[in-house]
Symmetry: C2
Subunit: 163 residues, 2 copies
Amino acid sequence: MKNFEKIFSILCLSIPVAACAASAVKPNYDVQVSKYEAQKASIGAADKFTGQVLVDSNFKSDLEDGYSGAMVNFEAGARAAWHSHPRGQTLIVIEGEGRVQAKGKQAQVIKPGDVVWIPPNQVHWHGAAAEHSMSHIAIVEAEGGRATDWMQHVTDNEYAKAQ
Amino acid sequence: MKNFEKIFSILCLSIPVAACAASAVKPNYDVQVSKYEAQKASIGAADKFTGQVLVDSNFKSDLEDGYSGAMVNFEAGARAAWHSHPRGQTLIVIEGEGRVQAKGKQAQVIKPGDVVWIPPNQVHWHGAAAEHSMSHIAIVEAEGGRATDWMQHVTDNEYAKAQ
């Protein structure tokens, strides 16, 4: 999941997250396998992320306001902006080393196999460590179709204190 | 995630799945990191799985009948019994090579990055390839607290035809 150069060279290089989200598996009534090599990864939008972020392996429940999610791949130094989720978020770390920080709290180191629960409306950010990439599965449930409220970027100073 | 010998030697060797399920992250109102090394893996119960299966990185929404799931690690040759889910299931393959098969259909090969959607009430099984281990994240939503209906084992003959 970490081969950013390769992925960048073959997958929707200039397509924003919203457009690429259409590549999420659409539930239907046959078992459906969305092959990795046929997926279109999306690039984390510059107003929501700092650094190189690629999103793939999108998935979705077939319930209204059910779960949805993806694999989110952060290059070293990359991170989400401050944000919150009306119904919370689960992260399962798959590769590398990252950080998660709730507003006003110390950042925490996260590594493969760690599971993070971010409660509803908790302002926070997550991303890679400064010296290591990090990939995690992220899962949210929506509330009236809304799953995330985005805020300002994590500054270089805030990020440096989290290392 | 594949080091079964190590995991077996340190984690709840004789604790059934139901007891180990209590190690799932319990949502609360602080950001909560469940460290991998502090988790208690559970062993796939012999009436639900064939071969060595370990479950860790458990997670759960805080909504009633919201999503729940885990990382499921199948050793080579290991597989779930035939089963179905009242609200369907998502699998995200993380490592190795596996198979998924709907009743009456051909088995499909699944590899890292692949996303599988199994529709509600579709009888199916999933597991490792005969010669390779396989780890996937599995996500379900419950219906009245029930997420899975288990059936008979996948026979050696059925499994051989899926290779």
